[in-house]
C-alpha cells in the first residue's frame, strides 16, 4: 500500500466530498443562474455549499465568493484591493508567500508599485511589528500567509489588522493551508479578505473561495455576467463548490479532535526519525505550527534522491516546488529563512492528512530511515560538492 504524506499539495478526497459529487452528478448539474427548476436546484446546492464554506471560517455566506482556487483568490485579492484603492501604490507582504502572491507582486513592482517584503526569522515567523510598522497612508494592501504551507509556521498577527484598518489599508490573509487545520474566525483575525482552497481540505482541485468582508469594497477581476453578487463573473463551478462545501463541513466537524490527532502523529513521526537519523533538523518553530506539517533537512543527502527513492518504496512526499520540466527546485521559503542552498536541497516536506493512520506513520518512519541510510551511503551529498 502506498502512503500519501503530501496533503499540503492536495489532500486525499474525503468520502463526504465524493458523496456530494456523486449525488450532484446523478441529479444533473444545472446552471444556478437559470430561472427553470434545474437552475433553482443548482442554485440551492450552490448556496448550501456557500454556507458550509462560510462556516469554515465563521463568516457569513454573503461574504464568500467562489473562485477557481487559491491562486485565483490570491490574484483576486491583490487586483481587487488595488482596484478599489487606486490612489495607493504600496503593498506589504513577506518573503515566504505562495507563488500566487509573489508573482503578481513582482508584476506590480514592474509597473511602479512599491512592494515591501518582510523577511522571516530562522523559524519562518514574520514579525507583526515589522509588518505593522511598514503600514502607512499610501498602503493599499497587506497580504500574508496565515500558515506557511512548506514549513507550517502560523503567523502571529499582533496589531496588523488594527494598524491596517486605521491606515485605511486592506488586510488579506492567505489561509489556504490553515483552513480546516486550525480553528479560524474571520472576525477575530480581523482580515478584510481571506483566501481558501478546496483541495487542501479533501475536495478536488480547481475550486476555492475568497472571503470578502461585507463592509469591504474590492474591484472584480473577472468581468462578464453578474454571478457571485457581481464580484466574480462566469458560471460558477458548481461541482467544485459543492465538493468544497462538503469537505469544509467534514473538516470543521472533525477539527478539535483531528488537530490533536494529527499533532500527535506528526510528533511521533519526527521522534521516530530523529532517533535514527543523527543531525536531522526540523524546520519551522517548535510551536505555533499547523499540526500536520513537517519540513525536515536530512543530513548528507540530496532531497531529490530521497524523494524519488521514497516514491519507489511507496512513500509520497514533496520538496520545494516542481519546475515546468518536472524537476524540483529548492524551496524559496527555506532560502528566505536563511538556510543554505545545500540545506534547502536536502529538505523534504511531509504533510499528514485526515486519512493518515498511526500504522502508516510507523511504516513511513521505518522506510524513510532505511532509504536515508541507503542514499547517504550511495550518494553522499558532501562528496558530490567536493567534486565541483
Amino acid at each position: 500500500m502506498r502512503i500519501y504524506l503530501d496533503h499540503n499539495s492536495g489532500s486525499t478526497l474525503r468520502p463526504e466530498a465524493i458523496a456530494a459529487l456523486n449525488a450532484l452528478l446523478l441529479e444533473g448539474e444545472g446552471n444556478p443562474a437559470a430561472v427553470h427548476r434545474a437552475g433553482q436546484r443548482a442554485r440551492r446546492a450552490l448556496e448550501q455549499a456557500r454556507s458550509e464554506v462560510a462556516a469554515l471560517v465563521a463568516a457569513s455566506p454573503s461574504e464568500i465568493i467562489f473562485t477557481s482556487g487559491g491562486t485565483e483568490s490570491n490574484n483576486f485579492a491583490i487586483a481587487g484591493a488595488l482596484g478599489a484603492l487606486s490612489t495607493r501604490r504600496k503593498v506589504i507582504t513577506s518573503a515566504i508567500e505562495h507563488s500566487s502572491i509573489l508573482a503578481p507582486l513582482v508584476n506590480l513592482e514592474n509597473r511602479g508599485f512599491e512592494v515591501v517584503r518582510i523577511a522571516p526569522d530562522p523559524e519562518g515567523r514574520i514579525s507583526p511589528e515589522a509588518i505593522a510598522g511598514a503600514i502607512d497612508e499610501t498602503t493599499a494592501l497587506v497580504t500574508l500567509g496565515l500558515a506557511n504551507g512548506e514549513v507550517g509556521t502560523i503567523q502571529d498577527l499582533g496589531e496588523i489588522a488594527r494598524r491596517a484598518a486605521s491606515a485605511g489599508a486592506l488586510f488579506h490573509l492567505d489561509a489556504a493551508q490553515a483552513a480546516g487545520r486550525i480553528p479560524l474566525e474571520v472576525d477575530a483575525l480581523g482580515c478584510a479578505l481571506m483566501t481558501l482552497s478546496a483541495h487542501k481540505l479533501g475536495a478536488p482541485a480547481g475550486s476555492g473561495a475568497l472571503f470578502i468582508r461585507d463592509d469591504c469594497q474590492v474591484a472584480p477581476m473577472l468581468l462578464g455576467g453578474p454571478q457571485e453578487n457581481a464580484r466574480r463573473a462566469g458560471t460558477p463551478n458548481l461541482l467544485g463548490a459543492v465538493a468544497f462545501g462538503a469537505a469544509a463541513q467534514a473538516a470543521v466537524r472533525a477539527l478539535p479532535l483531528e488537530a490533536a490527532r494529527l499533532g500527535a502523529l506528526t510528533q511521533s513521526l519526527f521522534s521516530l526519525l530523529a532517533a535514527q537519523i543523527p543531525g536531522l533538523v526540523c524546520n519551522g518553530p517548535p510551536k505555533d505550527r499547523i499540526p500536520n506539517t513537517l519540513n525536515l533537512t536530512f543530513p548528507g543527502v540530496l532531497g531529490e534522491s530521497m524523494l524519488i527513492a521514497l516514491d519507489l518504496e511507496g512513500i509520497q512526499v514533496s520538496m520545494g516546488s516542481a519546475c515546468a520540466a518536472g524537476a524540483v527546485e529548492p524551496s524559496h521559503v527555506l532560502l528566505a529563512m536563511g538556510r543554505s542552498a545545500r540545506e534547502a536541497r536536502s529538505s523534504l516536506r511531509l504533510s499528514l492528512g485526515w486519512n493518515t493512520t498511526a500504522q502508516e506513520v510507523a511504516r513511513a518512519a521505518e522506510t524513510i530511515i532505511r532509504v536515508w541510510r541507503r542514499v547517504s551511503e550511495s550518494e553522499p551529498a558532501a562528496a558530490r560538492e567536493a567534486l565541483s
Binding site: S305, A309, G326
Partner: protein, 362 residues
C-alpha cells in the same frame, strides 16, 4: 524480486525502446531524464537538443504508456563542473573536446550510477548502440554494435570492468531500423523522431560563443595564422574558434584550400596546410584506459578510430607509463585532432582508448 534498472531516457526513440526491451525482459524499470544543460531549452518547435521540456515530456509519455515510474533528475551542477568546464578549458587550450565521451564517463556511468544505487537500482541502462559480453572467466568485454552504421562504442571506451558489470545496452544486438519498428509496434509517439545531432548544451552550434560566455577575457588566446614555413597569413580572435582539419572561417584568401593543421594554445599560433599535409604517422594519447586493465602491457596490433565519423585504421599501439600511449598507423593516417578520443579496437572488440595529445609527424 526482479532486478531494478535505472534507464537514462532522453525522450528519443533509442532510449525509449531500450526501456521497453528491458521491461519485456522482466526488469523493474525506472526511467530518468537528466537535466544537464544550464538552462532548459525553450526552443519552440526545435527538437535537436536533449534537455528541452518537450523531450522530457516525450520520455514521460513513453513511461506512462509502458507503465513504469519516471522522474526528471537535476544533474546540472555536476554536468557544468565535469563536462562543460572540461569542454571550455579544452577549447581554450587549442584542443577539440568530445563532450559526449566525457558525459558518458563522468555523468552517465559515474554520477548517474551513484544515483541509481541511491534509488536501490542494480543496473544503469542507456540507449547506446554497443554490446557487452561476459566471458567464462567472468571478464566483461565491450563490443561494437551489431548495427555497424549506428555503432557508438567509440563514446564508451573508458568503461571499466566494474562499470560494464552494472551497465546494460539493450540495443546492442538490434538495428536502428528494428528499433523504429519496435517503437511503432509499441505505439510510441516518438517512433519517427529525428535524431539529435548537435551537442546538447550548444543547440545553436556556436561553440566559440559558449566558450566566451563561460570564461574570462584574459583566458582567450588570440594570435597569428601561419603556414608550415612560418609565413604569416592572417590573425585570429582566439584559438577556440578552430579545430584541426577545419577549412572554413580562416579569414584569409588562398589559391588552394587550406586546412588547420596545428593549434598552439600557449602561443595562440594556428598552423595551416594543404589537405595532404594533414596526414600524420601516428599520435600520442593521454588518459589512456583499457577495458580490461589486467591485460598485459606492451605492443598491440589494433585498429584505431580517431573520430566518431571515421573508419578505424590499422595501427600499432604501445602503452607507456602514466596512462600514455603511442599509436603508429600502418599507413599514413588521417588528421589526429588533439582532444578527440582515440579508441583501440580489435575486430569487434573495444580494447580501450584515450585522448589525442598530438599528432606524430614521422
Amino acid at each position: 524480486m526482479s532486478a531494478r534498472v535505472l534507464v537514462a531516457m532522453s525522450g528519443g526513440v533509442d532510449s525509449s525502446v531500450a526501456a521497453a526491451l528491458l521491461r519485456e525482459a522482466g526488469y523493474e524499470v525506472v526511467g530518468v531524464a537528466m537535466r544537464l544543460a544550464p538552462e532548459p531549452g525553450h526552443s519552440a518547435g526545435r527538437r535537436a537538443t536533449c534537455c528541452s521540456h518537450e523531450d522530457f515530456e516525450d520520455a514521460r509519455r513513453v513511461a506512462e504508456r509502458l507503465d513504469f515510474p519516471f522522474y526528471v533528475v537535476d544533474l546540472r551542477e555536476d554536468f557544468a563542473a565535469r563536462v562543460i568546464g572540461n569542454f571550455v578549458s579544452e577549447y581554450l587550450a587549442g584542443r577539440t573536446p568530445n563532450p559526449c565521451v566525457m558525459c558518458n564517463r563522468e555523468i552517465k556511468f559515474d554520477r548517474l550510477w551513484r544515483r541509481a544505487r541511491a534509488l536501490g537500482a542494480d543496473f544503469v541502462a542507456t540507449g547506446h548502440y554497443a554490446q557487452t559480453e561476459r566471458d567464462l572467466g567472468g571478464r566483461f568485454h565491450l563490443l561494437r554494435a551489431r548495427d555497424g552504421t549506428k555503432d557508438q562504442s567509440y563514446f564508451l571506451f573508458s568503461l571499466t570492468q566494474a562499470e560494464l558489470a552494472r551497465t546494460l545496452f539493450p540495443l546492442g544486438a538490434i538495428t536502428k531500423a528494428e528499433v523504429r519498428v519496435r517503437a511503432r509496434q509499441l505505439g510510441l509517439a516518438n517512433a519517427d523522431k529525428p535524431e539529435s545531432q548537435e551537442i546538447c548544451f550548444v543547440p545553436d552550434g556556436d561553440y566559440a560563443g559558449l566558450v566566451e560566455r563561460a570564461t574570462s577575457r584574459d583566458r582567450i588566446r588570440p594570435g597569428r595564422i601561419v603556414d608550415r614555413a612560418g609565413t604569416a597569413l592572417g590573425a585570429h580572435r582566439g584559438v577556440h574558434h578552430f579545430t584541426v582539419g577545419q577549412r572554413r572561417g580562416l579569414g584569409f584568401a588562398s589559391s588552394e584550400p587550406m586546412y588547420v593543421r596545428e593549434i598552439h594554445g600557449e602561443t595562440g599560433t594556428v598552423v595551416v596546410g594543404r589537405r595532404e599535409e594533414l596526414y600524420c604517422a601516428g599520435l600520442l594519447a593521454r588518459d589512456v584506459s583499457l577495458v580490461d586493465a589486467s591485460r598485459t602491457v606492451g605492443r598491440l596490433e589494433v585498429e584505431v578510430k580517431t573520430r566518431y565519423r571515421q573508419n578505424s585504421v590499422p595501427a600499432v599501439l604501445a602503452l607507456g607509463a602514466e596512462r600514455r600511449a603511442e599509436v603508429r598507423f600502418l599507413t599514413r593516417g588521417p588528421a589526429a585532432t588533439p582532444g578527440q578520443a582515440c579508441v583501440f579496437y580489435r575486430g569487434e572488440e573495444v580494447l580501450g582508448g584515450g585522448f589525442i595529445e598530438r599528432a606524430l609527424e614521422a
